[in-house]
Symmetry: D2
Subunit: 476 residues, 4 copies
C-alpha cells in the first residue's frame, strides 16, 4: 500500500547538547527516523557549533537510514541543529529542494526547515526577483530565506526579522530557523501543521509530532499555539505571540491519516481520534455483519473502534508483507500476481464464508480499493461492506500535501453509489461531514476540513495548482 | 525488533510456464518476496529453459527487491525454476553459501534449493572427501548435490538418485531439485519443515508456505506428506512414497513464530494457532488487568486470543516504526534514545494508569524484554504482566534455525521468577509445555517441540553445534 | 602521479543543435570528457530547450563518465547547453559548488559556467549581502549570477547586463552564460584563461581548449580576445569588444602544464611550447649524459625537446601504470611498496649503468621527486640529472589554481642547491625565468608568469588566500 | 583503445610475511595492481594464516582498486597468500569463474590461481563427472583442483599430487597452489606463460611478470624453467624438475603486446623486444617519410625503434585521453564524435603536411585502424604508412587468450593489399614471419608463434573453440 496522500514534511530542532556534542546529531537522526512517515524522499541535518562558529549541512535524496551512516554522523559535531524529512511529488524530487536550506547572508548563517506550503509564494518570488533576487530551487523555503534576509536589514534581531516575515506569508508554515546563536520556531497563525516543544536532557527540542520527542527519550512540554514564535538562546526560552489569536485551521487529516497514532497533537491523542472515527462511523452507518477488519496499517484502529461500537468481532483479515522495498518491481498489468496480493495476504481462516466490514481511512484516487474487494472475495468472503473513517474527499489541498487537482479524485468523478458498484462492494459509507471534527473533541484548536468541505481558511482563488509552471529549471 | 530466532530458508519451485516464459521468473520473484520473512540475507533464482537447454542462475546477498531488478528478471527466460531466500548467521553470510546451488554433473545440470539442516553433514563430507570430492562452500546443499551426483551413477533416473540419497540424510530437508527436464520436491521423513504443492495457471508450483502460492494468484493443492517425493515432468505429477510413514516431527515453532499468519500448514491455519495459543495462555495464566496488548508484530494475534478468552479489552499499546532499514544506525549503550524506543512508540492514551497484560511469542536471549517493560512504565502503565505464547525456550535446535548453544538462552540462565524480577515485570507466565501442541489441533501431522522439551525426534548426541569448525575457509 | 597543481575548470557551450536534439547533450558530454584533465572532482551539463522553454541541469561529484550515463543523457533534450568540469580542493568539494549554476531570476532562467577565480569576490559578497542577497555556496559563480541579475534590472538585454558586470570583477573569468534564447561567452580583459570558438555542424561552440572541439569532430574558428564578449542567438554571432585592448596576462602555465598538448591556444601549439621548453633548457643547462628520459606523462615532451637539442638519445625510463583508480589504497609510510613504485616502473634495460637526464615540468611541493631519484638508482642509474622545464615556482596563484600559500613551495623553503642535495640528485636546473615566455613565441597574447616572478597583472595586496574563511557553511 | 587481444590472467603468491601479517595482503594488493594489465574483469586474494589455521578468500568482479578497500585489506591477516587478476570474455565474466579457487578437500584447504588454459579440460571434466564429480564453474581451475584432490589420495604430499597432475594437463598453466603449510608454483612443460620467483624482505614471492616484484620493492631471482615445480615451506625452497627438458613454446605475443615493457621475461627485456621489433620492421619495410609516430600506448616503443633504425624523426602524433572509464558511453554509429577521436587527439602541429609512418603492434579484428588513418588525414597528414610490429595474425590461440575463431581475423578475411586499400592507408607492412622470434634474441627459452604461423606446440585437432558449449549453466 503506497500512502494515498503525502504529507510534505517532518521537522525537528535541538538547542543545547544533551551530554556531548556528537549526541546532538544522533538525537536529530533518531528523531527524524521517528518522523519518517511524514516524508521519505529526502532528508537532512544542519548542525551548528557555536564555539567553533561552523555550520555543517548534510542532506540528500533517500531515507534517514540511507542518507546518514555512522561515519557521517560522527563528523556532525555541534550543540544545536535542525533536521528535515521530506516528501515530494516525483517531478520535484531534486536535491536542490532538499532541506535544511543553509545560507550565508548579511549576519552570517541561517539554516531553515519548513513543514508546509506558502500559497502566495509565486507572487512573493516575482516581487523579490524584481529587486534582483536569484532562486536556485523551486521550493518555498528559499523564498522565506530571502524575505528573512531582507527584513533582517531593517530589524534589530533575527527574531524580529522572522516576525516581520510572518504576515507576508499566506499558507501553512511550521518552521525552524537556526541562526549563529539562536533557534527560532514558528507555527503559522492558522496552526495548519502541528509543532511542539519538549526537553531532552538539558536541551530544548522542537518536533512536528510528539512521537519524535518520545523516541529520543525526551519530555513533551506543549504544542506551539497557532501564530506563536518561540525563541531559544543561551538565556532561555522566549515566546513571541504577536501573531496569535486569529482563526484556527489545524488540518483534520493529520488526525485521520498523516500523524503517527502514538502522537498527541494539541491535546488530542491521534490513536483516540481514529478509534473515535470508527465509533462514529458505526453509529452513523451500521451494517449486519460477522466480522470487522481494517486495511493495514492505516485502517486498523478505526476498524477496532467500529467493532467496539457495533459489537461485531474485530479480526485481522489481511496481513501486510513487511519487506516491500524501494526497488521492488511492481507486477505488470495482466499478471496473475496483482499488486495488492503481493503486499497483502488474506487470512482465509477469518474471512471465508463471512460477511465482512472492511474499514479504511480514506478514498482519494480510489485505485486499489477494488483489488481489496476482489482479494476478500478470492478468500471466500460472503459480503464486503466498506466503511471509510473520513468524509468523501472532494477538494484539493494547498497546504503541503500532494492532491493537485480535483479531476483525479474518485468521489468527484463518481457518486458514492456509482463508485460502490464500480468496485464491487456490497455497501460503501463514509464518515458524515458534519461529524468529522468530532473525532478530535479534546483538541485545543479548531480544524480545517477544506479537502472534504471545500471551505478553505482563507481565499485561494488563484489557480495555485499551476503555480510552479513558470519555474522551469529542473535540477538533479 | 530483530527476529529472535531465524528460520534458515524459504523455497519455491515452478514447472511449466503460466503464459509466456518471462512470467516464470517474475512468478518466482513474487513468491520469494512472499517468503521473505523466512530469510533476508541472500536469495536467488535458477531458471531452466528446456527448449534452449540452458540454465541461468542469479543469486546474491540481499533482499529479493535488492538482488533482482527488472532488467535482470527480463533476462531470466525459461519454463521451470527454483528459488531460495536465506537467513544465515553473520559469520556464514557469504555468497558461496547462497542458493540455488547450480552444478554440472554427469547427466548435465542440477539446481538445488534446501530449507533445513543436515545433522550428519560433517560425517558425510568426510566420507565424500575420502573419495576425492572437493567442497567450495560450508553449506549442506553442496553435500547433498555431491551425494545425488554419485547415486545418479548407479540409478536409472534422477528421481531414483534423489530417493537413494534420502535415507543417508539425518535432519530437516524440504528440498527442490531441478534437472534438465524434471522438477523434484522432497520433504524429509519427519516432515520437520513445511512444503506444499499448488497450481498457477497450468504450471505446478512448490512452496515452503501456502502464502507464496496465494501471492502469485495460484491455487493451493495440498502439503507434501513427511517423506514424500513428488516428481513433475511433462508427463504429469508422480508421488514417490517409499520414505513415508515413519515418525512425524513438524516444527511447532513454525506455528508459533516462523510462518506467516495467512499460511495454512498441514491443514492448520497459522493465524488460528496463534489465536489459540493466546486463548490457552489466558486459561492457564489469568491475571486481573485493564487491557491486553501485544508486542508488534509477532505477539499481536496471541494477544487478541488472550483478550478474547479473558474478556479483558484488547488495545494497541506499542506502535512499530515501519521504516527501519538495513543500514539503520543502532543507538549506542547509554544513549538516551534506546534501541527499543526508536523502533516502538508507546501509546500513552491507552496504557497510562492501566494494568497491562503484554503478550509476546517467545523469550530466547531475552535482550529486549526489559526495555519493553521500561517503555510501558515510561508511558505510565500501572502494572505490567508478561504472557508468553510458547513454553520456556530451553534447548538448541539443529534443524535449520540459529539457536546454537544453551548458554545464551535466558530461561536456562535464570529461573522464571529470577527473570521476571530481572526485567522488572509484575508477573511472567509461559504457555504450559504440555499444551504447546494443542495450539495446532487441526494439523494432520505430529510435532517436534524439542526446543522446549529437549526431546529430539532422533539422536543428536554428537556436538553438532561445533560441526562447522573444521571447515575453515571464509569466502566473500 | 597526482597532478601537482590543479587547474580549476574546463568549460564548453553549444548553441544550435547539430542534427537532432539529443546530440546536443552527447556533444557536450564528449567535449567535457576531452576537458577532463582540467578538473576531475565534479561536472555538469545545463541544457536548454528553446521550443519547450525548459532548462534541465544535471551535475554531481565525479568524473564525466561517472556522473552521466546513457539514460541520463537521453533525458537531456535541447538545442543549447553549457557544461563544466571542475577541480576543487578537498574542503570545497561539495555538490553546492558544482557547476553549471542554474537560477531563476527576473527574466527567466540563467545557467552559468566559469573557469577562473574572482579575487575581489569577498568584497562583492559583502556588498550584495548588505542589499539582502543570500548565498548558498562558497563559489564565485553565485556572486557573478547575483550581479548579473541586478544589472539586468537596469539593462536592455542580458548581454548588456553581462557587459556591465565585467568591470566589477577583478580576476580570471572565462565564462559562459546561457539565457532562455542566447548564449554569451566572456573572456576576462587580461585573458588569463583560454577560451575559443568553433563550429560543430551548424552549431556554434565555445571551449576552454581547442582539443574539445576536435574531439567532437568540429572546426576551430579562433580564440576570444582578452576582454571580448561573444553573443550567439538565432540571428547569428556578435562580438562585443568594449573591454578589449587592455593589458594581457595569459597564464604561461597553461602551456607548460595545464593544457593538453594537442590544443592550440592563442595561435600557439601546446606541444610545440613544451618541446621548445625542452630545447631552451638543453641550451641553458647542458650536461654530459647517456640518455634523456621524461617523467610520465607531463615531462615526456620537454624531454624529447631536450634530447633533440642536446643530441643525447631519448629513451623511456619509467612506465606508468594506467590502472590507478580513484579508490586505490595508497601505501603507508614505511611500507616497502612506496607510492611512486606502485605508479611508475623503471625500465632497467634503459637506465642500468647510464648517466640519466630526467626532465619534469615543474617542482611545486616537491614531495615525490626524491622517490623518482631513488627509483632510478634502484634500477641502476649511474647519475641522475634533473632538468625542470619551468622556472622555480615561488609565488601563489589567485586565478583559479590551487596553490594557496608560499610556505608549502619547495623552492621557497630551500635554495636550488639545498633541494638538489636533499633529493639526492647529481644536478638540478630550471628553465631560466627570463626565457619562460619564449616557449610560446607564436602566441598572439602576452603572458602572466606571476607564479615564477611574483609580478601579478594587478594589485593583489589583500590576503586573498584567507578569503573564504568567513563563509563557514559546509554542505555535502 | 580497448586492448585488442586479452591475456587471461596475472598471478602472484607470497610465502612468509615481510614485516607484520597485514603487510602480506597489502603486498599482494600492490603486486596485483602491477599486473592489472593482464586482466581487468575480476580479481581476488586468498590468504592463509598458518598459526590460526584459517584461510580467507576475497574476490569479486572489478579492478583491484574496486574489489579491495582498506577495511577489507585490514581483515586479511596471514603469512602466505595467492592472488589473481583476470580477463574474461563477456559471456564468462561471472563471479563463479573468479579466482583464487578456494576449496576444502581430504587434507584441509587448497587455494589455486591459474594463468593459462587447459586444452583437454572438456575431456578431463567428462572423466571426472563419470566418477561422480560435480562442477560449479566453467573454469579450468576447478578441473585442476578436482584432479589434485584425487591424486592426493594416492600421494604422500601435496607436491607429489601436483606433480602427478601435470602430465594429465595439455595446455598453458602457470599456476600457484597454496595448501595449509606450503606454497607450490608450477610452470607448464612448454613454458607457454611466464612465471618468476623473487624475494620481498624475508618472504618468497612468485609473479607472472617481474614488474610486480619491483612494484613491491622486491628482488627478482629468476624465471621458473618450463616444467619446473617450486615448493616453498618453512624449511626453504625446493625445485622439482621431473617435467623439465621438453620442447619449449613461450608465447611470443607476451613480448610483442601482453607484458609490461618494464618486465624482463626469461632473460629478455620486453622494452628491448619492442624496440628491436621496430628496428627489424624498419629494415624489412623502409619508406620515404617525414616523421614516425606510434599508436598509444602499445605502438610507441616499436615506433621509436623504427625511427632509430630508419633515421626518420620520432614525434608524438596522437595524444591519448587518460580519463576513459569503465562506464564511459561510446559514441553511436554516425555521430560526429567518433569513438577514436574521443580517445585520441591528433597533434596537428606535428602531422600537418607530413608524410607519416604510424607504427602499431598488431592487427587482429582491424576495427579501428581505418579511423586512425582518417584521424591523421583530418589533422592534415600528407601520407599515412602503416607498419605493424608483428606478423599477420592468422590463427586462433588456445592457451589463455581470447581469439576464438579465424573468421573474425582481419588478415584472414582480406589480403594485405585489400586491407590496406580498405583502411585507406598509403602502404601497410608487417614484421616478417621468419624474423618474429628475433625480437627476443636474449630469451633463454624458445617460442610459440602459432597465432602467426599456425604451428602449435602440440596437436589441437579437436574443435577446442567449441569446448564450453555443453556446459550450459550461466551464473551471476
Amino acid at each position: 500500500m503506497e500512502r494515498k496522500i503525502n504529507e510534505e514534511c517532518g521537522i525537528f530542532g535541538i538547542f543545547g547538547e544533551a551530554k556531548h556534542s556528537h549526541q546532538t546529531a544522533r538525537t536529530v537522526y533518531y528523531a527524524l527516523y521517528a518522523l519518517q512517515h511524514r516524508g521519505q524522499q529526502s532528508c537532512g541535518i544542519s548542525i551548528g557549533n557555536r564555539e567553533k562558529k561552523v555550520v555543517v549541512c548534510h542532506k540528500d535524496l533517500g531515507l534517514v537510514s540511507e542518507v546518514f551512516d555512522g561515519s557521517i554522523l560522527d563528523t556532525l559535531d555541534g550543540d544545536m541543529a535542525v533536521g528535515h524529512t521530506r516528501y515530494a511529488s516525483a517531478d520535484k524530487n531534486t536535491r536542490d529542494n532538499a532541506q535544511p536550506l543553509s545560507i550565508n547572508y548579511n549576519k552570517g548563517t541561517l539554516s531553515i526547515v519548513l513543514n508546509g506550503a506558502i500559497a502566495n509564494a509565486p507572487e512573493l518570488r516575482r516581487i523579490l526577483e524584481k529587486q534582483g533576487a536569484i532562486f536556485q530551487s523551486t521550493g518555498d523555503t528559499e523564498v522565506i530565506a530571502c524575505l528573512i534576509s531582507r527584513e533582517r536589514l531593517v530589524s534589530k534581531s533575527i527574531e524580529e526579522a522572522v516576525s516581520r516575515v510572518v504576515p507576508l506569508l499566506k499558507g501553512a508554515f511550521s518552521m525552524l530557523v537556526m541562526s549563529p546563536q539562536k533557534l527560532i520556531a514558528v507555527r503559522d497563525p492558522y496552526g495548519i501543521r502541528p509543532l511542539c516543544i519538549g526537553r531532552v536532557g538539558s536541551a530544548t527540542v522542537f518536533a512536528s509530532e510528539s512521537c519524535a520527542i518520545s523516541a529520543v527519550g525526551g519530555k513533551f512540554l506543549r504544542d506551539l499555539d497557532p501564530g506563536e514564535i518561540v525563541l531559544v538562546t543561551d538565556d532561555g526560552i522566549e515566546s513571541i505571540r504577536d501573531h496569535c489569536g486569529g482563526n484556527q485551521a489545524m488540518c483534520i487529516f493529520e488526525h485521520i491519516y498523516f500523524a503517527r497514532p502514538d502522537s498527541i497533537i494539541d491535546g488530542q491523542s491521534v490513536y483516540e481520534s481514529r478509534l473515535e472515527a470508527g465509533r462514529i462511523l458505526a453509529e452513523a452507518s451500521p451494517v449486519d455483519a460477522d466480522i470487522v477488519i481494517g486495511v493495514p496499517d492505516s485502517g486498523l484502529i478505526a476498524a477496532m473502534g467500529y467493532a467496539e461500537k457495533s459489537g461485531i468481532p474485530y479480526r485481522e483479515g489481511l496481513i501486510r508483507n513487511r519487506y516491500i522495498g524501494r526497488t521492488f518491481i511492481q507486477p505488470r498489468q495482466g499478471e496473475r500476481a496483482q499488486s495488492v496480493m503481493i503486499k497483502l495476504g488474506p487470512i482465509e481462516a477469518n474471512v471465508k464464508g463471512k460477511r465482512v466490514v472492511m474499514v479504511d481511512d480514506s478514498i482519494v484516487r480510489g485505485t486499489t480499493i477494488n483489488q481489496l474487494v476482489e482479494l476478500l472475495r478470492y478468500a471466500g468472503a460472503a459480503e464486503v461492506h466498506i466503511r471509510i473513517s473520513s468524509p468523501e474527499f472532494l477538494w484539493p489541498c494547498y497546504f503541503g500535501t500532494d492532491i493537485p487537482s480535483r479531476d483525479r479524485l474518485a468521489l468527484v468523478k463518481y457518486t458514492k453509489d456509482e463508485f460502490c458498484k464500480k468496485i464491487g462492494a456490497d455497501s460503501l459509507e463514509f464518515l458524515p461531514l458534519d461529524r468529522v471534527t468530532d473525532v478530535a473533541k479534546n483538541s485545543k484548536v479548531k480544524f480545517c476540513d477544506a479537502c472534504f468541505s471545500g471551505k478553505y481558511p482563507f481565499d485561494v482563488t488563484e489557480d495555485l495548482a499551476q503555480k510552479d509552471f513558470e519555474y522551469n529549471i529542473e535540477k538533479r
